[in-house]
C-alpha cells in the first residue's frame, strides 16, 4: 500500500483495523476523538462493530466481554477517561484477556487540560488499577511507529493473553505524518483461543471467564502464574532505541514526543561541541533496565538525565536501573507544557558543567 498522510489518532485506528480489530467501544474525550470518529466510520465497512458507550466504565467492560469471546478489540481514551477504565483493566488483566487500550495522555491531575502530557507514566506502568498485575506499555514517538506498535500490540496481547497499552500524548495524536501500513516484520506463533466463551456446544469443557477466586491459595497460585508470564515478557519484549550513545558524556532518557525534541537538542549540542546520547524506551513496561545498566558502566558516561512532560515519573525507573552507578538528573514540564529545545539544552549544559568539574 502506498503512503498516506494521517493524523496520529486516525493512523492508530486504521492500524487496529489492519491488525484485525473489529470491535471498538469508547467514549469521547479530547485529544483522542479522531480514534472513535474514524472507527465509527470504518468499522461498519469491514463488518465490525463500533459502540459509543454511555461512559468509560461501560466501554472497558464491553471490551472485557468482547475480549472474553475471543475478538480483537480496542478502546481508547485520554487521561481522565483512562482513570475511569482502571477497574475494568484490572479485571481484564486478572482474567488474562487480550486487548489494546490507547491513552493519548493530556495534562492532569483531575480534569486537567487538553494539551500533551506524559504524567500517566506511573498509572500505565505500575498498575493503575488494583491488584498484582502489569500492562505491556508501548510508547511510540512517530506516527509510523504508532502504526507498527498497534499492529504488533494486538499480537503481543494475544500471545501472552494480557492487555497492551499504547501510551501516546496529545501531540502524537494530533500531528500529521506520512505513514505506510505494512505487514509486521516478525511473525509470531499465536496460540489458538481455546479459552474463549464462544458458546457451549458440548464438544469441549465449558469455558469460564472469571477474575474471582474464593480460595486465597488458588488466587496466589493464579497470580504467581501470571507473574511467571511477566518474567517471560520482561525477557522477550523489551524495545529500546539508543541514539548517539557512543562517546556520550551525558545520556538523556526520554520517550514519545519528548524523545523527538531531545533528538533535535542532541544535534544542536553536537554543533556546540557536546556529546549527548539518548536512550528512548519504546516499551515502558517492560522497562529497558539492562540497557541503562550497560551504559551506566561505561566510563565516558558521566550522568543521566530524564526529560519528561511530567514532574518526574520515568526518572524513578531510570534511577532503579542506573542503580547509583552515575548521578541521575531530571528536567520536566507539566500541565500540558511541552519542553522547549533550548531549555533542555541549558539543563544539559548545567549537568555537564557540574559533573565534569
Amino acid at each position: 500500500m502506498s503512503k498516506v498522510l494521517m493524523k496520529g489518532n486516525e493512523a492508530i485506528a486504521e492500524a487496529a483495523i489492519q491488525a484485525g480489530c473489529r470491535y471498538f467501544f469508547g467514549y469521547p474525550i479530547t485529544p483522542q476523538n479522531e480514534i472513535p470518529a474514524y472507527m465509527a466510520k470504518r468499522l461498519p465497512e469491514v463488518g465490525g462493530c463500533f459502540i459509543q458507550a454511555e461512559s468509560e466504565v461501560s466501554a472497558i467492560n464491553m471490551v472485557y466481554g468482547a475480549a472474553g469471546a475471543g475478538a480483537r478489540v480496542m478502546t481508547s481514551s485520554s487521561s481522565p477517561g483512562i482513570s475511569l477504565k482502571q477497574e475494568g483493566l484490572s479485571y481484564i488483566a486478572g482474567a488474562e484477556l487480550p486487548c489494546v487500550v490507547v491513552n493519548m495522555v493530556r495534562g492532569g491531575p483531575g480534569l486537567g487540560g487538553i494539551q500533551p502530557a506524559q504524567s500517566d507514566y506511573f498509572q500505565a506502568t505500575k498498575g493503575g488499577g488494583h491488584g498484582d498485575y502489569h500492562l505491556v506499555v508501548l510508547a511510540p514517538s512517530t506516527i509510523q511507529e504508532a502504526v507498527d506498535l498497534v499492529m504488533e500490540g494486538f499480537d503481543i496481547a494475544d500471545q501472552y493473553r494480557n492487555p497492551v497499552m499504547i501510551l501516546g500524548d496529545g501531540m502524537l495524536g494530533q500531528m500529521m505524518e506520512p505513514v505506510e501500513f505494512r505487514p509486521l516484520s516478525s511473525k509470531r506463533e499465536l496460540p489458538p483461543k481455546t479459552w474463549a466463551t464462544t458458546g457451549y456446544t458440548g464438544d469441549r469443557p465449558r469455558n469460564i471467564i472469571n477474575s474471582l477466586f474464593i480460595d486465597p491459595q488458588a488466587l496466589e497460585e493464579h497470580v504467581k502464574r501470571i507473574y511467571r508470564k511477566y518474567e517471560e515478557i520482561k525477557k522477550k519484549e523489551v524495545k529500546v532505541e539508543c541514539y548517539n550513545c557512543e562517546d556520550a558524556e551525558i545520556i538523556v532518557a526520554a520517550y514519545g514526543t519528548t524523545a523527538r525534541i531531545v533528538k533535535s537538542v542532541i544535534q544542536k549540542a553536537k554543533r556546540e561541541g557536546m556529546n549527548v546520547g539518548l536512550i528512548r524506551p519504546i516499551s515502558l513496561w517492560p522497562f529497558p533496565t539492562s540497557t541503562f545498566e550497560e551504559w551506566a558502566q561505561r566510563e565516558h558516561v558521566k550522568a543521566f538525565m530524564s526529560v519528561e512532560m511530567s514532574m518526574g515519573q520515568m526518572v524513578e525507573d531510570v534511577r532503579l536501573s542506573v542503580n547509583g552507578r552515575k548521578p541521575v538528573y531530571f528536567y520536566g514540564r507539566t500541565g500540558g507544557m511541552v519542553p522547549e529545545p533550548n531549555a533542555i539544552l541549558s539543563e544539559i549544559k548545567k549537568v555537564i558543567g557540574g559533573v565534569s568539574r
Binding site: 503512503k3 494521517m6 493524523k7 486516525e10 494530533q174 525534541i261 533528538k263 511541552v338
Partner: protein, 229 residues
C-alpha cells in the same frame, strides 16, 4: 496568484487537507498586495495545529486575527466570540475564514448564513488525495456535499493540495490532480489552484503554470521550530 475580487473567502475541506496552511498563506499574499485582511479561526474541531498558533506571524504582517474564546488554553469549549460579527459590518477588509475539518467543522459556518447571503463569497474546498477517506473522487464528493449541506453554502472552487508533507514530490501532486480533475468535471466546480511547497510547484508542467500556488509552511511541531533549534 489570481486577482481576488470577492471580500469573503472560506477555506473548507477534510481535516488534515491543509486548509489552515493555505488560509495563512492566502491571507499573507493578499496583505502583501496591499489589502487589509482579517483571518477568522473558526476551527471548532482541532485542539492544536491551528491558525491561532501563528498569531505573531499574522500580526507582524498587519493581519487581524479573530480566534474562538479559550483558544490555546485547556478549556475544551467551542465558543465563538461576538467580534466575528464585526467582519460583516465593516466592509473595508477582506475576510478569510479558516474553517474546521469535515462537515462537523463546517457546521460552525451555519450561524453566519444570513450574512453570507448578503454578498458574494468564495468558498475553497481543499483536497489532499493522499489522505485516507478523501483519496477517491467518490469519497471527496461525499465529503464536499456533506460540508455544503452543513454550512448551507456552495463550494465555488477546488484546490488540489495533495501532499505527504516533507516527502511530497511532483508525482504525488499530479496523481492528486487527476483525481481532483474528476471531481471538478463531475460537479462542474473549477480548480482554482494547485498548491504545495515552492520546490514542488516550480516543477509543474506548463499547462498548470497559472494554477501553481506555492506556500510556506507555518505550523511546526516543537522539534522543528526554527527559532528553537
Amino acid at each position: 496568484m489570481q486577482q481576488e475580487n470577492r471580500r469573503i473567502i472560506l477555506f473548507t475541506g477534510h481535516f488534515g487537507s491543509g486548509k489552515t496552511e493555505l488560509a495563512i498563506n492566502y491571507s499573507i499574499k493578499l496583505t502583501r498586495q496591499g489589502q487589509a485582511v482579517t483571518v477568522v479561526d473558526l476551527d471548532i474541531v482541532n485542539p492544536f495545529f491551528r491558525s491561532s498558533e501563528v498569531r505573531d506571524v499574522l500580526e507582524k504582517e498587519g493581519i487581524r486575527l479573530l480566534s474562538p474564546n479559550f483558544v490555546g488554553t485547556t478549556v475544551d469549549v467551542p465558543s465563538l466570540p461576538p467580534e466575528i460579527y464585526s467582519v460583516f459590518q465593516s466592509k473595508n477588509s477582506k475576510v478569510i475564514f479558516d474553517v474546521g475539518g469535515d462537515d462537523i467543522g463546517a457546521t460552525a459556518l451555519g450561524r453566519y448564513y444570513p450574512y453570507f447571503m448578503q454578498e458574494p463569497y468564495r468558498m475553497f474546498f481543499v483536497i489532499n488525495a493522499r489522505r485516507p477517506l478523501s483519496s477517491t473522487p467518490e469519497q471527496i464528493i461525499e465529503m464536499l456535499k456533506a460540508i455544503e449541506s452543513h454550512s448551507r453554502l456552495k463550494v465555488t472552487d477546488l484546490i488540489n493540495n495533495t501532499n505527504l508533507m516533507y516527502e511530497t514530490n511532483l508525482n504525488h501532486l499530479l496523481e492528486g490532480q487527476e483525481i481532483v480533475e474528476q471531481v471538478s468535471e463531475k460537479l462542474n466546480i473549477p480548480i482554482a489552484y494547485i498548491s504545495g511547497v515552492a520546490e514542488v510547484i516550480e516543477q509543474l508542467p506548463e499547462q498548470y503554470n497559472k494554477k501553481g500556488f506555492p506556500i510556506d509552511i507555518y505550523l511546526h511541531p516543537p522539534w522543528d521550530r526554527e527559532d528553537e533549534v
